[in-house]
Amino acid sequence: MSHAPSTSSQPANDGPLADSLLRMGRFLRRGEVSEDMRSLFLEGGRQGDIFYRDRWSHDKVVRSTHGVNCTGSCSWKVYVKDGIITWETQQTDYPSVGPDSPEYEPRGCPRGAAFSWYTYSPTRVRYPYIRGTLLAMYREAKERLGDPVLAWAELTADPEASARYRRARGKGGLVRATWDEAAEIVAAAHVHTIKRYGPDRVAGFSPIPAMSMVSHGVGARFMNLIGGTMQSFYDWYADLPVASPQVFGDQTDVPESADWWNASYLMMWGSNVPVTRTPDAHFMTEARYRGQKVITVSPDYADNTKFADEWLAPHPGTDGALAMAMGHVILKEFLVDRRTPRFASYLKQFADAPYLIALEERGDAWVPGKFLTAADLGGFGAKVANASFKTVVLNQQSEPVVPNGSLGHRFGPDDEGLWNLDLGDVDPLLSISDGAVWRGASVAVDLPRFDVAPEPGAEHEGGAGSVRRGVPVATVEGTTVTTVFDLLLAQYGVGREGLPGEWPTGYDDASSPGTPAWQEEITSVPAEKAERIGREFADNAERSGGRSMILMGAGTNHWFHSDTIYRTFLALTTMTGCQGVNGGGWAHYVGQEKVRPLTGYNQYSSAADWVRPARNMIGTAFWYLATDQWRYDGLPADQLASPLAKGLFAGRTTADCLVESTKRGWMPSYPTFDRNPLDLVDEARAAGAEPAQYVIDSLNDGTLHYSVEDPDAPENFPRVLNVWRANILGSSGKGNEYFLKHLLGTDAAVRAPEAEGDRRPRDIRWRDDAPIGKLDLLVTTDFRMTSTTLFSDIVFPAATWYEKYDLSSTDMHPFVHSFNPAIKPPWQTKTDFDIFHTIAARMSEMAVEHLGVRHDLVAVPLMHDTPDAMATPHGTVRDDAPLVPGVTMPKLVVVERDYPALAARLGSLGPLTTKLGMVTKGVTFDPTPEVEQLKASNGVVTSGPNIGAVRLDTDARACELILALSGTTNGRLAVQGFRQLEQRTGQELASLAVDHEGSRITFPDVQSRPVSVITSPEWSGSEHGGRRYSAFTVNVEHKKPWHTLTGRMHFFLDHDWMAELGENLPVYRPPLDLHRLYGDARVGSTEPTGAPGSEGHAEVAVRYLTPHSKWSIHSEYQDNLFMLSLSRGGPTIWMSPQDAAKIGVRDNEWIESYNRNGVVVARAIVSHRMPEGTVFMYHAKDRTVDVPRTETSGLRGGIHNSLTRVLLKPSHLIGGYAQLSFAFNYLGPTGNQRDEVTVIRRRSQEVTY
């Protein structure tokens, strides 16, 4: 390039002298000084550039992703130079969303971008480690006894020796070990525990399979082969929205993020999208340009507030009241004053709104009772199959009709083809008063309310009351009935002419529950805003055909009463006809990981090819008992009950409800009995009895008990905990200090007293000396040091996500993609896959002598999506029923455990897959052709006991299996599943997948690029024809029922316990009043607590929230130097200037935060974006980085969950009834932690570590 001299411009520099200096200077340089002397231009031969060009050079780029517990599932390019991983950037090659939408590229976030730091960081676990105290004792015993299993048995039986190594947990002293020795000890501990205590005393914990299905699956498979228990995580994390099983009969199904683009009204409610859904947030920012209106509901000025057209800041945990008020406006203006045709017809076909509820007289009024069913109709109708599960509507002539599609139609042979939402020529009455023959009959019903301020001096009585409102009624077979819709109007306070009861005088009537003015007093959100936004939401839904969407998240889902909050949200999307519509409906984004290739994954991980069923446990209950949090809880169940309750919970704690749930077979419970389940079978057979009957007899005669009745008996302890891909002690472990004290037996900062007197559970044996250190072995596999590895007895060094093969999927996008090794696992690290195969091999050797082939009695709860869901007609809890497995108690199943064959079975496909088929959500898939193909592609076992079986001996082969056996990745299976559903529903479905019938997505396919999945009956939405995935579109468009009692979405839940809690209908329940329940400080209190070190320091009690962090995904990345450099470099607590002023603390000063559960030390971040009275400690601040010792306990400061504790909600324990039946990670008590209160003070600024 040459540059013609210019004559037009004048030098613009400061003066002739300077110009001349530069003019001289330019002769010293190549290049060209601009004519005006401003600038120096250079071209060619720039040797000084080489440094950067060299830096941007690499040998290869490998596709992989991050197996962290987040929903991103982003595909990355990992750069490798000279065999060293250098850095990563995002892939941009996702299949297109189409010409009129933004694309998924470049998914990612700063956390993921910082991942490669771990590969070579000083926190990388490079070798196996064992705590020196334990290792020395083990070596000594092994040397003496010559057998690893005997050595472990002796060591753990010796109280002094075992207390010594337990006390040393978490106090350093880890020493390098060989793989041989570490694997030997772990194998011996497993073998001994199975032999001595039973396989259900071995627990496995690893969450979120979607983010690395094989790494999770191999360990779960191992656990399920040995008969160990896998702990659930979705409910334990409180991410499971219990409202979803309650309302939809579905675990969680939500739109992919590209479907936000289709919404024209978007409310982000407790979901801070830029932080928690970083790769997806752009769809929200971009949809605004398409005219989408955006609302943020958040108590603080959250990151997403920046994008919102309106910001509503309710007091934390009061969101339900705001949603109730919006619902009030919508019901009044869109369904009563004017009946919007679309909304009305939607409610008739897709909701339980028109279904009849029998009313029961109570005092001088009535209360809602049960769904009227065919069984209540008398005559021929009552004699049909499963009549108690066929719910009833009135037609326009006010005659009772049983529409298709209820639970009663789902399973029986008589009803084949009738399980559908086709109303035919039935036009149900939405309201009784719509009936032509209705003559004004109505009754007053009493409905509970929980928003009443307690009387002064009677705070311990709580704040519940009732409101009396009227509904129109009809009489059917002598029963007084009304519709769910009529009850809904009563519940929301929407009055109609001529009905009895107390009704609001208008939106401005704050005295009557449901109105905008009422919610303002609770939430502080101006009534006008609640009213207007409710109206806009519905108006938009009407104008757009249902494209109003609510993104809801942890801010509203981690509360004790989140199921009630969510039900008020779901009521909004259902009453406006938005569910099952692209761009509309609920979008729950909290830990909702979607294993898209679900069926294949389940086969692999549950080892269903070898043994069925698996022991899947509700994590919350497991940890609640194992860590002895129950001893401190004493939450009286009747304190939670409705003032209209019958008294089922009287005199009982929530722990007692857990015992009842266990015994009735509602929820699983492992360890199950106070005896080794292997021995139980032997004993039964020795006694000549059939094992199940033996168990029933032993329970009846009192010689056998459930472990849940005596969790502190040594024979009921969990003994071995095997953790991988998880950091339970630094992240999810609610009640962290109780874990340390009772499960591990080491130092802890528990400050609470144990429950006393009638606060102790009635049905659990109280032992005066609480166990200290129940666990014999904690073994953790990780690639970095966390609280869990710090406290573990043995640490296995894991390969990172850039060092192995695996699969990833999410519900945020519709693609499956892969992990691939950029480098081989360095040092002595191994993949999770290899680690479990290593342990299994050692166990198989030891099992020859110590275990052999045994039979195991597995207690199985009543399962969702099976006829078990019809165990409890009307959800009526009976006390007089005899023990019948599978009806009034758990099913009792005997399975074979071939322990010497463990390793061989882990690495090959068993026969049950083709023999029994694969069942997902009630659909049975037959994979016979696929298994034949896998024999060719994966190869077959050529020797040993499983000769001829498909090989699953490498991670890549396991990936191939998962893809081959799932409908989403195998069109033939998808079509086969749809054909089966067609028979059941009588509706056309196969067209959703038939054009992909020949498509197979293989592992090499997903290695080369992310691949879009195939529409499959495993899920409720459709990707057919390239459309965006939205939940329940198949239900709405193909008339496939929801998996609920009515087959529709439920506003009303009629189980006895729901009525007892006052939660038949959506209702506002405030955050738990911990002052009332436990005597904790009231929010805002500055009373001195007398805590150690607090003397002379101002203190303030505040709400303690733990929202997700910008600089970590749970505890992952919170120790990453890049994230620490971009934030405050250690644990912090955000607070308002007002609260900071109360305790005299300035920004970045050290503070301590403490309550009955423990102590946290952190630095304060003071910001005006925080509301007064609430602090944030972002989720999963581990104790590994920059955590000093506390003044309060003298110990190392705790993690964010050191201030929390498990609290059980009885409604989460219901089972055996329609959608309220157990499935793994589908239903169970949540490990909620949002209702917590803490006291904060400024501490000495001199900290010691």
């Binding site: 390039m1 040459s2 540059h3 013609a4 210019s6 411009s9 520099n13 400061d14 200096l21 200077g25 340089r29 600038s39 120096l40 250079l42 950067y52 060009r53 990563e88 950037t89 590229e105 976030c109 910082a114 926190t123 020196g132 978490g170 350093g172 002293g173 880890l174 830029p274 970083t278 752009h282 971009e286 340009y289 398409r290 005219g291 209106k293 000025y301 920046k306 800041a313 101006p526 805003k529 104008r543 757009s544 040091m785 609280s787 710090l790 120790d1119 890049f1122 620490l1124 450099s1125 971009l1126 934030s1127 405050r1128 470099g1129 308002s1136 003071v1166 910001s1167 005006h1168 974006r1169 104790r1183 190392r1196």
Partner: protein
């Protein structure tokens, strides 16, 4: 006319989610090495806030950029070359390490190697400069999300100069993010500050670079750059800065920060300009005229005369085509929604920004008007949650009119597109109210919202 090509960037702040992915991918690729631990070629700062290094915009303190002297000519604010040579060994106008932050690490190895003891092992912080224990008092992004607002916000140089009082109160909270890289200015004061002639602008694309062989570590460039985007590598003793990822650009890849931008808010493209006009434009009298002056320097790549002149300069044909297809040209010139950062520094920066559209304050909506309705919005645009005056302080030397113009166009786009979205028709009047046609709005919408990879770069 002397046609030159400049590689430029536009960032749409209205889409920025403040995630810092750009910072991390840039850091990993370029400055993850000793001597530059504290260096972030790309950083993202929360505004209001004081940025990185802290308070860099306070040119009364740092003396960066150019000033127009009485003779109507530009001189370096820190003093001309003569005075620079005079104090070449003691340059006082430099941020110290604490103005960036003292880089640190932790005793991570103790987590594995701590001997058996009384307490749980922990990794305590250690300075990366001298290895001593330290309390972390500042970082590369200390005031993220208004953290510590009570301590720092009043030092935000923009807030200081605003006539309107901005209260740090919960109900009035606002914030947005400002990602920053080197501006690759047309009139770079860093280049002019370098006594060694080590800094230069590449002829073909205008990227401003430091010749690592020629740099003598005088650090005058650090002072000269008003954006503080030239850094000193304390190990090599040389200056380093954002290279606009030229090793990637040269093979047809966008910069790391652009391609990895999760908010999809960065646009890259060539702009043709008249190098002969730069000095005059940068020296216009009134700071508020600098925006128009800089726009006037740009040349219409579709103008046959410009094309001819470009060819005459030897600019290759594919570069001319690239300039014609450039999203930058459309955003700056056609839609006029992009604005330069601190034009008053007179460096003619070439990373421009679309200012963030914030909601109208509640007083408008609570009066019963729908804040999204176009006429309401236009009437209320001066009542946005983010004060327009604040944005003007960043992008237009305090002139609120151009900022208001941009925000009206963004607002009009939303209103207009909502009609299409709801199948309620195209309201041409909305477009006309912001001097556009519906077709133009739809084109702009495609570029801003759908923003395919090939349209961004």
């Amino acid at each position: 006319m002397k046609v030159m090509a400049q590689m430029s960037m536009v960032m749409n702040l209205d889409k920025c989610i403040g995630c810092h992915t750009c910072s991390v991918t840039c850091k990993q690729a370029w400055t993850n090495r000793s001597g530059v631990e504290y260096v972030w070629f790309n950083n993202v700062e929360t505004r209001p806030g004081i940025g990185y290094p802290r308070g860099y915009e306070d040119q009364e303190k740092w003396q960066g950029g150019w000033v127009r002297n009485k003779r109507g000519r530009l001189s370096l604010k820190a003093g001309g070359r003569l005075s620079k040579f005079a104090r070449i060994f003691s340059n006082p106008k430099l941020p110290e390490i604490h103005d960036y932050y003292e880089p640190w690490t932790y005793e991570y190895d103790m987590l594995l190697n701590a001997p058996a003891g009384e307490h749980t092992p922990v990794a305590k912080p250690k300075s990366l400069l001298d290895g001593r224990d330290m309390k972390i008092e500042w970082s590369a992004n200390w005031d993220d999300n208004l953290g510590g607002s009570g301590e720092t916000m009043h030092d935000d140089p923009i807030l200081k100069h605003m006539s309107e009082h901005v209260a740090s109160e919960f109900e009035q909270t606002f914030m947005f993010y400002l990602p920053r890289i080197c501006e690759h200015c047309l009139n770079p004061s860093c280049v002019a500050s370098c006594p060694s002639g080590a800094m230069y602008k590449r002829v073909e694309d205008g990227i401003v670079l430091v010749d690592q062989d020629a740099c003598r570590g005088w650090r005058m460039c650090v002072t000269g750059c008003p954006y503080k985007k030239v850094y000193f590598n304390h190990k090599t003793g040389k200056a380093e800065k954002c290279t606009l990822c030229y090793p990637r650009l040269e093979v047809g890849l966008p910069t790391v920060c652009s391609e990895t931008c999760v908010g999809r808010l960065r646009y890259l493209g060539l702009v043709l300009y008249d190098a002969d006009q730069v000095a005059t434009a940068a020296a216009v009298k009134d700071e508020k005229d600098l925006l128009d002056a800089q726009r006037s320097v740009f040349l219409d790549p579709h103008d046959p005369a410009v094309v001819e002149a470009a060819r005459a300069e030897g600019i290759p044909e594919d570069w001319i085509e690239a300039a014609q297809a450039s999203p930058i040209w459309r955003l700056i010139n056609d839609y006029k929604v992009a604005l330069p950062l601190h034009p008053e520094y007179r460096t003619m920066p070439m990373v421009w920004y679309i200012p963030p559209l914030s909601p109208v304050v509640d007083v408008v909506a609570s009066s019963g008007n729908d804040g999204e309705d176009a006429p309401t919005l236009f009437a209320a645009i001066d009542k946005l949650r983010i004060p327009i005056e604040y944005l003007a302080g960043l992008f237009t030397a305090g002139d609120v009119a151009p900022v208001e113009g941009v925000l009206r166009r963004l607002a009009a786009m939303r209103s207009y597109m909502r009609g299409i979205n709801l199948d309620e028709g195209r309201d041409e009047e909305i477009a006309n109210a912001v001097d556009m046609t519906g077709t133009e709005i739809e084109e702009m919408y495609r570029l801003l919202a759908i923003a395919k990879y090939e349209d961004r770069y």
